[in-house]
Amino acid sequence: MDLNMKVLIVDDFTTMRKLIRNILKQIGFANMIEAENGKAALKVLKKENIDLVLCDWNMPEMPGIDLLKAVRSDDELKDIPFVMVTAEAQKDNIVEAVKAGVTNYVVKPFTAETLIEKLNAIFKG
């Protein structure tokens, strides 16, 4: 896993952005950008070369699932690994995210180990 990759953390709660940032920092990531909803995240994605998106589902303005669909339908962005980090853990949510092309799914509450495991699984190849 390349620790120099640029990670976009999208969540309307600063608490969760800070928790994820702390975990990523612990494992050596240094380039992290935050956005508080899908709309703000999309702007960042158009401007920066983002290598990984970690995104909440339930957010005002633009929910995570809409951001995922927007990313996957954009030729420039469609290959970016996109991980949903969300309290929405019902089957329909997971199926919808998989259909929309999510790379992995982390259910809140989660431990640092769980998040690291999921990232390792994505980048091991």
């Binding site: 309307d12 709660f13 600063t14 608490t15 969760m16 800070k18 928790l19 702390n22 339930n58 957010m59 005002p60 969300t86 309290a87 929405e88 853990a89 019902q90 089957k91 329909d92 259910v107 809140k108 509450p109 989660f110 431990t111």
Partner: protein
């Protein structure tokens, strides 16, 4: 045939003090003419215990539940979230100052000494996680609910009005660092 119960306080309302879950042969209790489905309440208790232990490494002990008749919060800061589905309801989680300061300090790995915007934001996120976890467990028993985005209220003796009508049950929890209470209000079944 399902049995029903008349009050929360008599012997028919069995409370398992060890795990804090409602255990009885029926899924329903009747309070003041209104019916409350305990199968909907238990997942919120489980979710609360799980979220606080996973995110803040804090163990909580449930105390005896009671019927709450006013809207004055027991704690200093509260998260509120509504849910809709086969019935509508509201969940409140209200924390003592000492309890929430320890929870959020543990979550961030840094000492926080006052209820500030960071604490309020964390209460919102904790409420969001509890709502999500509870709805996941409810789905496993065939009850599908949608959750709203939580809001947070703070201050001494603040009021937390339910977003839905119906009886409100309060489940107090003790931790080594202070107390918190989970309140669940469910619209009555006809």
């Amino acid at each position: 045939m399902k049995r029903t119960y008349r009050t929360l306080n008599d012997c028919e309302m069995q409370h398992n003090a060890e795990v804090g879950l409602f255990t009885r042969p029926s899924n329903f209790i009747i309070m003041e003419g209104q019916t409350l489905d305990v199968k909907i309440i238990n997942p919120f208790i489980n979710a609360t215990l799980n979220v606080l232990e996973t995110m803040a490494f804090i163990k909580s002990d449930a105390q005896k539940p009671y019927l709450k008749k006013d809207n004055v919060a027991k704690g200093d800061v509260s998260g509120v979230v509504g849910f809709t589905g086969e019935t509508n309801g509201t969940v409140f989680i209200t924390f003592d100052e000492s309890c929430i300061l320890k929870i959020v300090s543990n979550m961030f790995g840094e000492q926080i000494n006052e209820i500030n915007d960071e604490i309020k934001d964390a209460v919102g996120e904790l409420t969001n996680m509890i709502s999500g976890q509870a709805r996941k467990e409810l789905e496993e028993i065939g009850k599908v609910f949608q959750g709203a985005i939580p809001s947070v209220v703070s201050g001494k003796n603040h009021e937390i009005k339910p977003l839905t009508k119906g009886p409100k049950i309060a489940i107090p929890f003790k931790t080594d660092f202070g107390n918190f209470t989970v309140e669940v209000s469910l619209e009555s079944k006809s």
